[in-house]
């Protein structure tokens, strides 16, 4: 039986996440794959369609760093704090690149994942009717008539990301993943996606059962990377608590383009307009990045636009082939 490869986070992202991919980093407050998001920024991915029910500060960073061309979501805020300022800047002012959005309700998004995981083209729910969401996204929300009762219900189209990225407490050496506490929508996201990358607090010889556990078998996951603390500043039940101070501090950092650029620089992340070389996983040419990051406001916008003008960029065929090899 196929097992997941245990790899470094750098290798996992390099292997599974390509420019132009539809990527779902899921986690519902708990177990948010923050370090994986940071690594995607470091590797300079571009033109991503980011999918998540609750994009929080991870997606704010990725959007501000110019990784995304589209966001599919249902609630985009800094929980308990306020706005996501990089998201707002992208939507309200097109900075650093224009961001297309597609928004849903939580019930709609979760059912879209369920349809994706179930191999169905759409899911049915009672929702959306009478709201503005129904009018704006006919490509993913429509009415459908029940063949048995004749009742009108709402259909939402399936979500099938190219890659799902989630964080969990533990995995064994075959890549069987174990998570507990608030389980969110992680299992559905992994099963809906073509490829799965899971970061874990620790890789262990044997998974000791835990009450309320969810197991994601290794044979539906491509890569597992051990990243202790990989969900911080969110939390991992049984390992560490949510660090609310980071969420509060993010408000001031993200409010200002220059402070945000300085934050990226401090964390070895290239700003929008600077491409880390994909062939050098782990962040590319640091010297080049630093030089350009010292230009306040985030570097060469022209460069960004040029690359954003190639929709769906990146060689997906190559990626698919390599994912298939491991299957």
């Amino acid at each position: 039986m196929r097992v997941a490869d245990i790899v470094s986070l750098t290798e996992g992202v390099a292997r599974l996440v390509s420019d132009g991919d539809a990527v779902a980093l899921e986690g519902f407050t708990h177990l948010i794959p923050v370090e994986a998001g940071n690594e995607i920024i470091r590797q300079g991915r571009r033109d991503l369609t980011l999918i998540r029910m609750t994009p929080d500060i991870v997606y704010d960073r990725m959007i501000g760093a110019g990784c995304a061309r589209k966001l599919i979501f249902s609630w985009g805020g800094n929980p308990g704090v306020g706005s996501l300022h990089r998201l707002r800047d992208a939507v309200e002012h097109g900075w650093p690149v224009p961001l297309e959005i597609e928004e849903h309700s939580h019930a709609g998004m979760v059912n879209r994942y369920i349809a994706g995981a179930s191999g169905l083209p759409f899911a049915i729910l009672r929702g959306y009717v009478g709201t503005g969401l129904m009018d704006h996204y006919p490509e993913s929300v429509a009415t459908v008539t029940c063949p048995f009762t004749g009742e009108d219900l709402v259909a939402v189209s399936a979500l099938n990301p190219d890659v799902a990225v989630v964080h969990a407490q533990r995995a064994d050496r075959s890549g069987n993943v174990q998570l507990w506490g608030i389980p969110g929508v992680q299992k559905e996201a992994v099963l809906a996606a073509d490829r799965g990358l899971v970061t874990v607090e620790e890789v262990v010889d044997e998974l000791e059962p835990v009450a309320g556990q969810v197991i994601i078998p290794g044979w539906v996951v491509d890569c597992v990377a051990e990243v202790p603390g990989g969900a911080a500043p969110s939390y991992a039940q049984g390992y560490y608590d949510r660090d609310n101070t980071v969420y509060v501090a993010w408000d001031a950092i993200s409010r200002d383009r220059d402070r945000f650029a300085a934050w990226l620089d401090e964390h070895g992340m290239p700003p929008a307009g600077v491409r880390a070389s994909a062939s050098e996983p782990g962040g590319g040419d640091q010297a080049g990045v630093r030089a350009s990051a010292s230009e306040p406001g985030g570097g060469d916008k022209t460069g960004v636009r040029a690359s954003a003008s190639e929709p769906g960029g990146g060689d997906k065929t190559g990626v698919r082939a390599s994912a298939g090899d491991r299957a």
Binding site: F28, T29, H30, M53, T54, F73, S74, W75, G76, G77, P79, G80, V81, S83, L84, L87, R88, V91, E92, E103, H104, S105, H106, A107, V110, N111, Y113, I114, L125, R126, G127, Y128, V129, G130, T131, G132, L133, H136, E151, D152, G181, I182, P183, G184, V185, K187, E188, G212, V214, Y235, Q237, D241, R242, N244, Y247
Partner: protein
């Protein structure tokens, strides 16, 4: 005596009291969460608190900053996934009260948490969006809204309908097939409003102590209807204030 309290404290206390006959409550984060947690410590000790993160029957010892804080899972009767909380628990109409906040609310209690500005594609302000609210507003047996009242929040017509109140008036909810009753009470820092049983229009029913009807009119973006004999809310008791402040103190220490 409890002469010194803020308008926000009055609002939270009034909102907690409003849950007195509630059996289960789907709790939004922010003001609703504060009031619901106050309610279980004062008026309704056996109230079932449900957060959209999948925590059912939770009893946090402090206010959670997010809807999925660890304390919610650790103290819950049951922790379920997001698919289950929306499909099995919310959708069938099992939950008594949906407790929501709003960025804008209009005459017919429609709620906007999506964008400010008439042009959706080019919003003046991009708000967080829908979250669980549209289906909470549709499926819970009734909805209670808690929101600070001002000309910014109380508008003639919301810029975007994120969650349906009474749509364009009587008959809208029935036509849309929404199974819950919709908003039955709106609690603000100035007073309390209920939909008129005939017109569905939000009507001022009570003011908080020290607030006049004219104050409320001045903070409302439409020609506000007022019941004939407006009540005045009872001020917070010492006990209510003590419990609320203790809850907030424990929250800021955490």
């Amino acid at each position: 005596m409890s002469a010194d309290y803020s308008a926000d404290e009055m609002m939270s206390v009034a909102a907690a009291r409003a849950l007195h006959d509630c059996t289960s409550c789907f709790v939004g984060i922010g003001l609703p969460s504060t009031a619901a947690n106050l309610a279980v410590r004062t008026t309704v000790p056996d109230l079932v608190l449900i957060y959209e993160s999948g925590t059912i029957g939770t009893r946090p010892d402090r206010l959670p900053l997010s809807i999925g804080d660890g304390i919610l899972a650790e103290t819950a009767d049951a922790v379920v996934g997001v698919p289950e909380i929306f499909n099995y628990w919310l959708q069938p109409g099992r939950i008594d009260v949906g407790f929501l906040g709003a960025a804008q609310i209009d005459r017919f209690a429609n709620i906007n948490t999506t964008v400010i500005g008439a042009d959706y594609e080019h919003p003046k302000v991009r708000l967080p969006g829908a979250g669980g609210a549209p289906e909470i507003a549709g499926a819970c047996r009734r909805v209670i809204v808690v929101v600070r009242q001002s000309l910014r929040t109380f508008v003639e017509q919301v810029d975007f309908i994120t969650s349906v109140g009474y749509g364009s008036g009587p008959g809208t909810r029935e036509r849309l097939g929404l199974r819950g009753r919709g908003p039955v009470l709106v609690i603000t820092d100035l007073g309390m409003l209920r939909p008129d049983p005939q017109t569905c229009e939000l009507t001022l029913e009570a003011v908080h102590p020290g607030v006049t009807v004219d104050d409320v009119r001045a903070a409302t973006g439409w020609d506000l209807r007022v019941v004939d004999d407006v009540a005045t809310s009872l001020p917070p008791t010492d006990e209510e204030l003590h419990v609320l402040r203790d809850l907030q103190a424990r929250t800021s220490r955490a």
